[in-house]
Each structure stands twice: as structure tokens, then as C-alpha cells.
Amino acid sequence: MDLERELRALEIAWPETPHFSVATPRHARWRRHATGWRRHTAVALAALAVAVAAAFAVPQSRAAILRFLDLGGVTIEFVDRLPAARERPLSADLGPVVTRAEAEAALGRPLLVPHLQPLPPLHLRNRVVSLVFAEHGEPVLLSEFAFGSFFFKKLVGGSTSVVPVVVHGDSGLWLSGAEHAVFFTTVPPRLAGNVLIWQDGDLTLRIEGRRLTEAQALDLADAIYPGMG
């Protein structure tokens, strides 16, 4: 009896292999409906609210990493305890300064920025375009990246508030309260302050400021769009 041969000859009824993606983790199903959100904002916002509520409803006694949400190029994991991360300036690790044309070439579409005179330096790292400017005397970081071209993750502790919002008709999230950790692909994790994240078509936008309020962040986001500011 050649057991090795018999084993190799076995045809196993394996479970079907799911589709995996680093840009679209399975845990969060929202992004698959991103196009629909643009057309049906009210429905999407309701779904977003349900998803946020569901994410928080998972019992705390399960594994350390409990819940996931996804928005554009951002994955948000809800964890019991944040990993080690340092507080660093908003302008840290943004990459070299580039021209507007280079920034738009990296995004594959026009940049969305508030009307600022002069326009602050644009930075580019891993196809993420960032700029830092002052709002109400506080530094604010605006980052933009194309859908599917980039991945970064936020880890949110239990005392961080995550609420769904609408920005210019698109779905977004407002993260505030306790600090959360943010992971980019190639730089060390850092602690982040209050953050507004939203999608504009295939673009994900993110505004961060330590003392930024939700109203200020939404005003800033609206100011990015012509005729809204």
C-alpha cells in the first residue's frame, strides 16, 4: 500500500476560495457599494449608521481585534487596546514636496483643495498627496489618495467616537474623542487627532487636526468644493 500515492490521489472538496484584496478587505462590505452611495446618499448613510452600530455591538470578550469598517482607501479596526504609537507632528513623513501637476498625476485626477493663497507645499508619498495649513490658528492636515491605489489603517480604541457623516453628498466618517493610531504602509504608526474621512468618487480624502471640531471639519470639506465654501 503506497499511502503517499493514495494521499496525493485524493481529490479534496475544499471550501471555495474567497476573493481577497488588500484594497477591499472582506470584513467591511461598504466599499463594494461605493458607487451606489453617491446616488443614494440617504440610504447609504442609514446603512453606514447601522454598520457603525453593528461594529460596536460585537461583544468585548472576543479576540483583541474585533471589528472592521472600510471607507475608500481606509480600513478602521476597532480594538480593545491601541498598539504602541508615538505622537508626531502632522507634517511628519509626508514625503517630498511636488508640484501640483505631479500631485495630480499621482492621483490620476484633479486635486481637491480649499482656496488657499498661497497654496501650501504639496507633499507626495506612496501616491498620497498631503498638505498642511492653518485653520483657526491650528495646523490641519489634508490628505488625498486614489481609490484602490493605497491602503492605510486606523486602529480605534473603545473611547474614540466614530460617526457617519455626509460630505458634498458622499459618505464619510468623523472620528473624534480619544486619539487613534494610524498606520501608513511605509512609515511608523503615529497617534492621530480628530479626523474626517470621506470619499469623492474614486478619491479618498482625510482632514486631521488635534483640536478640529466636527463642524469645522465639515466646513473645511465643503470649502474644497467650488460654490460650497
Binding site: 494521499l7 479534496i12 476573493h19 481577497f20 484584496s21 479576540a63 491602503f151 504602509t185
Partner: protein, 171 residues
């Protein structure tokens, strides 16, 4: 690879796409649960994506990837604290069976062999499953199990012996 290491997620997905099925199956063998295997493989791919900058240029991708997947699967299994049976099923032989009687005998033998395999201790079961059910190389099996190639050889020999005893006792 260069595009992926520069942060192009589509390039990374193209790189790992040919290995997704084997990665999922390795995770399934370890977690013994399709949902946990899916979570483990997904999370492992994200970790691999983050760690790609440290991947040694020119090294084979599959063993590196399988090692990350297997580690994640083991972590999931430990944290889940479950002891599920693997419950592998043999696929239907289709047109290959010469007669219904012979087909029934062959199916019974396959079921006995799989049951015997499933009853082996984890180490023995996994090394045989990796080498013979998934047809992984010794290097890939070593990466997935987190052991040296020599350990794969010795562990395989002992596992086959145990399987032979278990299978024989079921005859």
C-alpha cells in the same frame, strides 16, 4: 514586485493572486474552519502587503506568503480556542469510477483514509496535508509550519507511519 513595493496595491494583488487559493487552503487546514481561514488569509495578505518592503528581492514569494498566512491562522485558532474537526471531504470521482460497486468501494477507502488523517495529532496531520494534499514543496511546508526542512522530512516519515497504523486499523 517593484511597483508593489512602491505602494501599488494592484501590483501587489497581481503578485499574490496565483497564491490565494493555496494560502486559503493552508489557513483552512490550520483553523479547520472556512470563515476563520478566510479572515486569517485576508489579514495575512494585508500584513504581507505592509511587510513587502522587507521582502528580499529575488526570494520565492510563495513560501514567504504561506509563512505569514500560517502564522495568522495559528493565531486565530489559538484565540478562537476551538477544537473543531477538519472534516475534509473527498471530491466525487465523477466519470472515473468504472462501476457503481467499485465507485462505492473507492469512496469508502477515501473516506477511511481522510478519517484516519483527521485523527492524527496536529503536527502529523498538517505535515502530511501540506506535502500530499496541497502538494507543497518541502521548503514551502517548512515555511508554513515554521520548522526546518529536515524537520519536515522526519516529521513526514513519522506521520506516514502513524497514518499507516490508523488506516490499517480502520480496514
Amino acid at each position: 514586485m517593484r511597483r508593489a513595493q512602491r505602494g501599488d496595491s494592484r501590483a501587489f494583488e497581481e503578485l499574490v493572486q496565483p497564491h490565494q487559493e493555496i494560502a486559503f487552503r493552508v489557513a483552512y487546514l490550520i483553523t479547520r474552519n472556512a470563515a476563520d481561514a478566510e479572515d486569517a488569509a485576508q489579514e495575512a495578505l494585508v500584513k504581507a502587503w505592509r511587510a513587502l518592503g522587507r521582502f528580499r528581492a529575488g526570494a520565492p514569494l510563495r513560501p514567504w506568503l504561506l509563512k505569514i498566512v500560517a502564522n495568522e491562522a495559528r493565531n486565530r485558532r489559538r484565540s478562537a480556542g476551538r477544537r473543531e474537526r477538519l472534516a475534509l471531504r473527498a471530491a466525487s470521482p465523477g466519470e472515473a469510477a468504472p462501476s457503481p460497486e467499485e465507485a462505492a468501494v473507492a469512496a469508502d477507502e477515501r473516506a477511511r483514509l481522510l478519517a484516519a488523517l483527521d485523527e492524527l495529532p496536529d503536527q502529523a496531520r498538517l505535515v502530511l496535508a501540506c506535502r500530499h494534499l496541497l502538494a507543497l514543496s518541502e521548503e514551502e511546508t517548512a515555511a508554513a509550519l515554521g520548522v526546518r526542512r529536515g524537520t519536515v522530512k522526519s516529521r513526514s516519515a513519522r506521520a506516514l507511519e502513524r497514518l499507516r497504523e490508523a488506516y490499517g486499523s480502520r480496514a
